[in-house]
């Protein structure tokens, strides 16, 4: 019987890995229609030959997720600014929409995102890294990404004293990625599990549900949700 009262909302690297693998398996079995999370093992030093058992470090990955579709306003704007489109409309009736152009506009407007969940040894919590790009591979700028964030998050951004999303180097890929700042994570994880009036759970239960609970909160910030099945399971 563990004492959860003293728990500070953090998780060890070992428990993170166990929880991440469990989360990925559960996601795959309950959401076969949705792209799967996968565990990517990473040796601490890429140039050091790594034994199978040493590959305990790594991150959780969900990639190529479409995060936006154009609305009518976007289509109109594209039509108005496209010279080709203007020429086409001259030769046709004013209220007639060219299907081919519409499809093309849709294609160019699609934005995609890669999500990585990496363990932070500093904060001892999972951290969400993301990279957003167009269908042609061009990376999105921060203000373009902010447009894709759920409205509630975007509205909160200007009011925040400290930006909660910044571009930083991916710990394993060594490339610029966007990172959601994790300094408040342990506090809200603690509240999630210990803040209620209900009886406090055992520590094993807490650690088992840690990543699922973390994702249900953090995922909303970037427009990812957990299907009902996973929340109901257990």
């Amino acid at each position: 019987m563990m004492d959860v009262c003293n728990w500070d909302g953090t998780v060890s690297a070992k428990d993170f890995r166990i929880g991440a693998l469990s989360f990925a398996q559960k996601w795959e079995s309950l959401n076969s229609a949705f792209p799967p999370w996968s565990w990517v093992p990473c040796p601490k030093h890429s140039w050091l030959a790594s034994h199978e058992l040493l590959q305990e470090e790594g991150y959780l990955s969900l990639e190529n997720i479409c995060i936006s579709r154009p609305n009518e306003e976007d289509i109109d704007q594209n039509s108005q600014t496209d010279p080709g489109e203007e020429e086409t409309s001259c030769s046709e009736k004013e209220d007639d929409i060219d299907d081919a152009t519409l499809v093309q506009s849709n294609h160019h407007e699609l934005h995609y995102c890669d999500f990585h969940v990496v363990y932070s040894y500093t904060f001892r919590v999972p951290v969400l890294y993301l990279r957003a790009y167009c269908s042609d591979g061009r990376p999105l700028l921060l203000d373009e990404i902010e447009k894709e964030l759920p409205a509630c998050s975007s509205k909160e951004l200007p009011e925040t004293k400290w930006a909660f999303i910044t571009q930083e180097e991916h710990p394993y890929l060594k490339r610029p990625w966007y990172k959601l700042h994790p300094c408040g994570t342990s506090e809200f994880m603690k509240l999630l599990f210990l803040g209620g009036d209900t009886a406090q759970p055992k520590l094993e239960v807490v650690l088992e549900l840690y990543l699922l609970s973390w994702f249900s909160a953090v995922g909303q910030v970037v427009g990812l949700t957990i299907p009902c099945k996973m929340l109901n399971d257990r």
Binding site: F123, A163, R175
Partner: protein, 364 residues
């Protein structure tokens, strides 16, 4: 006791006054005059950051630049320099044999956005620094509220003290952050000799255990070498492993050395001692099992140690020919037996991280 504090101030002063002589060349693709402009000679603070030198560099090369928007970045022999790493750390890491002056190239066009994080001048550097400080505060105190709640004027004063190399102003403002320091084993040893009875009382705010903010830059070489001059050049950041991981110090009666810290951070390179570590880990497990009511923190510590012990056993088979060849902190190559607390108290960067450069030899 003033002597001890003065000694620490002395070492910190040397660190803060440390500088790298730079010879900065303009990249040939941006030279529009004949003859090409002479290089800019600048003494760059070790604890500073390259983009902060732009106000000195830009006037020097202005007359020869092609028209267009400036996106300034630096490069050393083809390797883009990460501006968010302190200048002294870049020098220690990339110049195995210290090169004086250090010849680097400045570009005003063609920013390599796929490798380097964007930099919009001084503000980007400032926020990068403050984020590091926030992270350090979390490691030490368990939260970063003191950094988050800094007043605007304190924030500005702190940043200006770093930009201007003003140690006294920095100490005045940073003391408000209440970052606990570790008892300096070397200093306390000296003081206990001179004043036998009052050693402990005078170190208020210091703790004997805790987490130390450390950033490790590990350069792996597959070739063996005896002279630093024989080492080939770092041509890619893929060759360098960046480890952002705190060191936990536990007072267990004996002195915690740099050797202990490195074993904690790079267990693969201490395979000869993995057997004794396994024994220690075993003892820890036994101790925990005897405790009637276990609390979360001790269990966590045991888990981490158990994991390390397991790694150590496997490390025997993997890296028997891997070894640490060089360790540099603030340009100093300290002995492994030096008390880690001395290094922490004297060689920290202003972001409160100990930046350690390590060169290791690894098998092919």
């Amino acid at each position: 006791m003033r002597k001890a504090l003065q000694k620490r101030m002395e070492a910190q002063k040397y660190v803060w006054e440390g500088a790298i002589p730079l010879q900065i060349h303009l990249h040939e693709s941006q030279v529009t005059t004949l003859p090409p402009p002479p290089p800019a000679l600048i003494l760059a603070p070790r604890i500073g950051y390259l983009p902060l030198l732009v106000p000195l560099i830009k006037p020097h090369f202005r007359s020869t630049l092609p028209p267009g928007v400036d996106t300034i970045w630096f490069e050393y022999r083809g390797l883009p320099l990460k501006w968010y790493i302190p200048t002294g750390v870049l020098f220690d890491l990339l110049c195995a044999e210290p090169e004086r002056p250090w010849n680097i190239t400045v570009h005003f066009r063609g920013y390599p956005g796929n490798v380097l994080i964007p930099c919009d001048g001084e503000d980007s550097v400032k926020w990068s620094f403050i984020n590091s400080l926030k992270e350090a505060a979390y490691i030490i105190n368990g939260n970063c509220k003191n950094v988050m709640n800094m007043s605007q004027s304190d924030q500005l004063e702190l940043w200006h003290s770093v930009m201007n190399g003003n140690l006294e102003a920095y100490l005045r403002v940073s003391s408000k952050l209440k970052l606990a320091t570790i008892e300096d084993e070397y200093t306390s040893l000296c003081s206990s000799k001179s004043q036998q009875g009052s050693g402990e009382t005078d170190f208020t705010g210091q703790v004997k255990t805790g987490r130390v903010p450390v950033r490790l830059y590990v350069w792996g070489l597959s070739e063996d070498f005896d002279d630093l001059e024989d080492i080939s050049q770092v041509d890619s950041w893929e060759k360098i492993s960046y480890v952002n991981r705190p060191v936990e110090i536990h007072k267990e009666g004996k002195c915690f050395t740099l050797h202990d810290a490195m074993k904690n951070l790079l267990p693969e390179f201490f395979s000869d001692e993995s057997l004794s570590d396994s024994k220690l880990a075993g003892v820890d497990f036994e101790d925990v099992q005897k405790i009637p009511s276990e609390d979360v923190s001790s269990n966590k510590v045991v888990e981490d140690r158990g994991q390390n012990a397991y790694e150590h056993r496997e490390a025997c088979y993997i890296s028997s020919s891997a070894e640490i060849k060089l360790i540099r902190i603030q340009g100093i190559e300290p002995k492994l037996e030096i008390p880690f607390s001395w290094l922490v108290n004297n060689l920290l960067n202003p972001d409160h991280f100990l930046h350690i450069c390590v060169c290791v030899k690894v098998p092919q």
